[in-house]
């Protein structure tokens, strides 16, 4: 035991390049220096190139007049507005199509995902066919299909397709009746909010009562009646303070009502249908991930089938479903940037497209555009981490 040929005399230190901590330090310093040199090199090149082209850097251009119109905007916008306003319009349009896309994709995705697990052979096969068709075709191709092959091929305004003489669909878009709110309308949303508050209070009370006494009332149904009924009641009581502005064909085009531009329709449909195929797979695998033992144990406790689903399967499946689901939502919002290919005025289209071409401020424009998407991504991943920490299984 005492013979150790490699034994070093006490107090002898290995040379510093054999010390792991020092080696790591040196390596990291070198890496930092390399990255810094690389960045400085790029910054220097950019400065040279910009001065050669006579472009001044900075965000001053945001106050200049844009001088171009935008076909759809949620806030007041005219061609006299500034580039800063353009940015805002684009951002809101991105959020609009992203938000509505998330809603529609979730709805279709859950229906198709559950249909895929249906005991009905035909229904399950149709759901599979839907998933395999739409997720294996590039999204841009689907957007083109809906826009150029479907919506652009619709009849002109004179021969538009009418649905009940109030909704019209033609090559220029979808014309919907627009609600006009009269005085006294403010009570209806107020009633809605009151009903939601009351429902939450009812559910909390019901849960406490159940934990204390074991008795419960059907709070879900009562809440539903409350949330739907109270605003309806107020509407009738105030004498229906809504009139509808129905679109009407005058000359070559429709007047009045509310127009949904075909670019929005195409993008929204393509995004929802494409993302729904992925969400359906996530829902299916989430439900299948719950082991049979869980269902069998719940049945052994003689829970009825709806309670097995509600109290045992769905809470556990959601834990599996929600992380990939949020990343699909993020994908949908990022994919909405394909709007630029068909001219829907989203952030990339009006800002990184038109504004960039007009001002030549490539660095600022691309940086602002990327910052928007990065912020959305970071917010969603922060939510994800919070959610994961909340629902994580508490183990020993």
């Amino acid at each position: 035991m005492s013979v150790r040929p490699n034994a070093r005399p006490a107090g002898h230190k290995p040379p510093f390049w054999r010390d792991r901590a020092k080696r790591a330090l040196v390596f990291q310093l070198l890496l930092t220096a390399a990255v810094a040199v690389f960045l400085l090199y790029i910054v220097g090149n950019v400065q040279d190139n910009l001065s050669a082209r006579g472009i001044t850097t900075g965000f001053g251009f945001l106050n200049n007049t844009a001088g171009f119109g935008i076909v759809q905007s949620l806030i007041d916008y005219s061609s006299q507005a500034t580039y800063g306003r353009t940015f805002l319009v684009g951002l809101l349009n991105t959020l609009l199509v992203g938000g509505l896309g998330v809603l529609a994709a979730t709805l279709i995705g859950f229906i198709v995902g559950i249909a895929r697990l249906s005991p009905n052979w035909l229904l399950a096969r149709m759901a599979t066919a839907y998933i395999e068709t739409f997720r294996n075709i590039p999204l841009l191709l689907q957007i083109f299909f809906w826009y150029f092959a479907v919506l652009r091929a619709l009849p002109s305004a004179r021969d538009s397709m009418a649905f009940g003489e109030v909704i019209f669909l033609n090559v220029r878009g979808l014309y919907l009746p627009e609600p006009l709110f009269e005085s006294g309308f403010g009570l209806i949303p107020a009633a809605f909010i009151v009903a939601i508050g009351a429902s939450i209070a009812l559910c909390v009370w019901n849960k406490r009562r159940q934990e204390a006494t074991g008795k419960r009332i059907p709070a879900g149904w009562i809440s539903l009646v409350l949330i739907l009924g109270l605003p309806l009641l107020i509407t009738v009581a105030t004498g229906v303070p809504i009139t509808w502005d129905v679109p009407e064909l005058r000359g070559f085009n429709f007047r009045g009502g509310f127009t949904v531009i075909p670019e929005f329709l195409a993008l929204w449909m393509a995004l929802s249908i494409y993302t729904a195929a992925f969400i359906a797979e996530i829902v299916r695998s989430g439900i299948q991930a719950i082991s049979h033992g869980q269902t069998e144990a719940a049945q052994a406790l003689s829970l009825p089938r709806n309670l097995v689903l509600r109290l045992v399967v769905i809470p556990q499946a959601l834990r599996v479903i929600i992380p990939p689901l949020t990343s699909q939502y993020l994908n949908l919002i990022k994919n909405s940037s394909l709007a630029t290919a068909i001219g829907y005025p989203d952030l990339v289209s009006v800002f990184a497209g038109t504004t960039l071409n007009q001002t030549g401020q490539a660095i600022e424009v691309i940086a602002m555009t990327m910052a928007v998407y990065l912020t959305i991504s970071l917010l969603v991943s922060m939510f994800m981490n919070w959610f994961n920490a909340r629902v994580a299984l508490v183990e020993r």
Binding site: L31, W121, L122, P138, F148, A149, K334
Partner: protein, 366 residues
């Protein structure tokens, strides 16, 4: 006690559990709700399939060279027929197409070799596919060597360009992704934070802004006087974007390897690179193949975005052909053809990845 010494003859199953009628009853008409679903489903199928089949097959025109050969009652596949060479090879000179064909042949042979489990020498074939073949393909396609006439990259297009962008993006992203994944799991805080920032940045922005950046900002980053080919710019953007996604797939694979493997290797006195290169990565890479195939599928679909920065991939060339004044009004045929090609590729790849997952999965499932 009564002992039954003889076996009772096997009796057939009850007649109401056998045969097509029983199958129909169990799977399609097992209750009022199920019956309703089946009937509605059949009606929807009837509404969808009958007009589609009539349009695409029964009333379609297949033979001819000009639009006059189309009756316009159904699909006009003459359009796709007339443009087929362009859809596959882009504007590659007709006399040089044999070069593209050789590359196509080599590409599919290598893929098949790697995908079929029985074939030998996987490792050497993989090395050739990742290193030797891209160089050979570049020499052959671009020309300028061995008396081959030069074909500038702006004439490359169609399916050839789509496959090229996806494969080169993939091959470039693999090593960067491995380095990033190892860096993200490193104990060194600065290395780790660089890798995290890099990965999260590319994963947080849409590919289209990356391509815009590559096409608009890359020329600003380089010293003046150096211009980069448009195709190369797109490739740089695609590769950086893809490498971040690849890094996450590889990190997932690395996490699946038990820590004991690396610790055992460390106990044997192996250095970091030996532990990774000989013990951890070979095990992890095998488990990552399904994930890598899945990211390849999304990259393959995402290459369509290069048409926005002016390259003519399969979708780009179809879109360009649609605006030809001789062939106006055939957008449906063009999109259906492109969708069919993309679908074949993506579907077969996803089936392959599912097959691999089943092969590698030894979990307990019922």
């Amino acid at each position: 006690m009564i002992h039954n010494k003889t076996m009772i003859d096997q009796r057939p199953a009850p007649s109401n559990t056998l045969g097509p009628v029983a199958w129909l009853r169990a799977n399609l008409f097992s209750g009022p709700l199920n019956t309703l679903f089946t009937l509605v489903g059949l009606y929807v199928l009837y509404l969808l399939l009958v007009p589609t089949i009539q349009w695409a097959f029964i009333n379609a025109d297949w033979i001819g060279t000009t639009r006059a050969d189309c009756s316009r009652e159904g699909a006009c596949w003459v359009f796709v027929n007339a443009r087929f060479t362009q859809f596959i090879y882009g504007l590659y000179p007709r006399s040089e197409i044999w070069r593209a064909n050789i590359v196509f042949g080599g590409f599919f042979t290598l893929i098949a070799w790697l995908a079929i489990p029985r074939l030998p020498f996987k490792r050497w074939v993989a090395v050739f596919a990742l290193v030797g073949f891209p160089i050979a393909a570049y020499v052959l396609l671009h020309g300028g060597y061995f008396d081959l006439p030069r074909v500038p990259t702006h004439r490359w297009g169609g399916l050839m360009l789509t496959l090229l962008l996806a494969s080169i993006g993939m091959i470039g992203a693999l090593p960067i992704g491995i380095v990033l994944a190892l860096g993200r799991r490193s104990n060194m805080p600065i290395v780790k934070s660089f890798c995290v920032i890099f990965i999260e940045f590319w994963r947080g922005v849409p590919l289209i802004t990356v391509l815009f950046m590559a096409s608009v900002m890359l020329p600003l980053f380089l010293p003046s006087g150096i211009s980069v080919d448009r195709l190369v710019r797109a490739l740089i953007g695609l590769t950086l974007f893809q490498s971040a996604y690849m890094a996450e797939v590889i990190r997932g694979g690395l996490q699946a390897i038990p820590k004991g493997q690396e610790e055992a290797a460390a106990a044997l006195g192996m250095s970091y690179w030996k532990r990774m290169g000989l013990i951890v990565l070979p095990q992890a890479l095998k488990m990552m193949i399904p994930g890598i195939v899945n990211t390849f599928i999304s990259l393959f679909k995402d290459t369509t975005l290069v048409m926005i920065i002016g390259l003519f991939d399969l979708l780009g060339i179809v879109q360009a052909a649609l605006s030809d004044s001789n062939w106006l009004g055939f957008s449906l045929e063009g999109y259906v053809f492109a969708a069919f090609v993309f679908w074949i590729f993506c579907f077969s790849m996803s089936r392959y990845s599912q097959y691999l997952e089943r092969k590698l999965n030894t979990g307990h499932k019922r």
